[in-house]
């Protein structure tokens, strides 16, 4: 496994939630497109959507992460984009997933973490958000393995 990965974590707000009659379907569509692109580009990661806020981890070759992030940046379905973490990483954390959907068991906690991260974006917030997504995705992974 290559060890020279780049990881980027950002938070943003949904800008058109009022127009989303079916958020689950919209998220499913975002995921489908993202998975197709990421599988091609060797990018992995996880996406969390909670109460109008997105948190996403992207990891892969710097060049590919950069390209993916720039594509996401031009998506006007979200705004107030804040980068919480952008650094080289030893290894992938979400290597199993082209783009995992992290569905919080405790939505209130997830909402609080994202709210805080958007209000006070710093490295701690980045670490907390990554831990949150990691925890959620692991749980899903365990569940998937058990099934």
């Amino acid at each position: 496994m290559t060890t020279d990965f780049f990881r980027l974590v950002y938070c943003s707000r949904n800008t058109i939630s009022a127009g989303w009659s079916n958020p689950a379907a919209e998220i499913a569509e975002i995921l489908a497109v993202s998975r197709a692109n990421n599988a091609r580009d060797g990018v992995t990661g996880a996406l969390l959507y909670s109460d109008g806020c997105f948190a996403q981890v992207l990891e892969g070759d710097l060049d590919m992460v950069q390209r993916t992030f720039e594509r996401i940046q031009r998506d006007t379905r979200h705004g107030d984009v804040i980068v919480l973490e952008a650094r080289r990483a030893e290894a992938r954390m979400f290597g199993m997933w082209d783009m995992a959907l992290a569905e919080p068991a405790d939505p209130t906690k997830a909402k609080a973490i994202l709210g805080l991260a958007l209000a006070e974006p710093n490295e701690d917030a980045g670490t907390t958000v990554v831990a949150l997504l990691d925890g959620l995705v692991r749980r899903e992974g365990d569940w998937a393995n058990a099934a």
Partner: protein, 580 residues
Amino acid sequence: MDGFQSDADARATFATLVSDSDEHRATLTQAVLDHTALGIIGLDADRNVVLCNRSAAEMLGLTAPQLWQPVPLPRCLQESTTLDAAGKLAFEVALHTTTGFDRLFGLNVPDQTLQLILLDGRLLHVTVHQVDANHCFVTLNVQTSGEVPPERTDGLTGLSDRQWFRERLTVELTAPKKEDQVAVLLIDLDRFKAINDSHGHPVGDALLQMVAQRLRSVVRDGDLVSRLGGDEFAVTMPGVGSPEAMGVRLVDLLSRPYLIEGHVAVIGASVGIAVGPRDGADTASLVRAADLALYQAKEDGRQSVREFKQEMDTRARARHALLDDLRRALALQQFEVHYQPQTNLGSRQLVGFEALVRWRHPELGLIPPDRFIPLAEEVGLIVGIGEWVLRKACLDAMSWPGQLSVAVNVSAKQLEDPNRLPRVVEAALAASGLPAKRLEVEITESALVRYEQQALQVLHTLRAKGVRVSMDDFGTGYSSLSQLRSFPFDKLKIDRSFVRDLSNSDEAVAVIRAIAALGASLGMTTTAEGVETDAQETMVRNDGCTDMQGYLVSRPVPAENVAELIRSLTVDIPPFQESI
């Protein structure tokens, strides 16, 4: 029906036509002419257009004149929407030369040809054919395939360049379309320079390329995105649409973080919008309108979108006029120095005056400093004005009794050249004979922040000469405390906003107390500015300030009234009269 295949055909036909004005033949001829791809214009000896076919009208962007209804050529050309002014002139001159020669000398002038570049960039071949002594006709031919000049692009971003932007805008403004309006959005990036400086040019260039891509991704089909230079971009929207919504979207999109070579860069954008022909009927005035709107957007703070309003133009003109007057004001001796007393809070003893510049405009009267000082700073006039005030204040102070000091404000601009101010101060002291210790220079925190190293060097030099140095408007800057560590100020002047809020803000009280305590422990004088009431005086005294300045003691007075003011202020405090 293809009509004429060559100039020779046209010539032969026209020769017969001019000799026969039969109505039916004329109608038939017009029909034939209108079906030919070659543009044809017939002229009489007085350069009146007597014939113009549909192709010619289209090539020149004219409404086709009626056959045999003479219209002067200049008037016809004036209407042209495809030729620029130079093209129209060249066209007219070519015709003038042939008909003129012919009439004067009866010579057989050979056919003249010229090439004109149409506003859309295509080449127009014009050939003038002499028919007889009184008539000539012109054939027009537009080169299309392969000859269209390619869009001129900016090498870095691949966007259109400034020249192409202007040319396309001209076409949009002149093209006779149903939707004849066009919107121009001028975009200026905020903080780009800082990124370029801190991360280097390659990162700056990559950032500009990403900006270009984001702009391209958001515009409609048919909109033109251009890079006008540096970090200036433009979006041209033919048919207008909703430029303000587009502007807001552009600002949002451009302000999102960029990931470049692993660095996260955040910039902002300001947008100025003008809609033609409403805000400007020609390219230059439309771009100027958008520029004024952009100026306003930047003025209103970053991330703004502003549409051109007529009052922006009015304000710009007023500002321009004021600036013109300001440039002459020093030479015309329209400035005055007024003096506001500073007193000790404990003894109520007069300690000195602050010199304040006033501009007596011949028509507008006394102009408040906040209307001309920022303008003077912007264009650098403040250096000359500041130095004049310095010399005048030193001279005036020499006529005051005792040890009364005079405080003179120094602008950030005066620190750009670190050698200049010390030289000017020395000259002012020498010329007036004022002892250095009676002169005080006041500098704002923002000036210090802007030219930190240089400013400190200048202040140290001045202080070494014995001049006192005070920090003006203390407490309003963001780095007040760190500034205090970097230089041994003699005095802190507490910003008037704190004094104003004393009666209704516990925070203001706390800030004044803290500054007074800080000053006391560092051995600095602390002067409360803007003291207007007895209550405020009592409060700032109780809070530990040493001095005060404000309307309570006196408003600033003209130099000639200072002596009287000193007398009245000194009478009030007998115990200290002798020490002055």
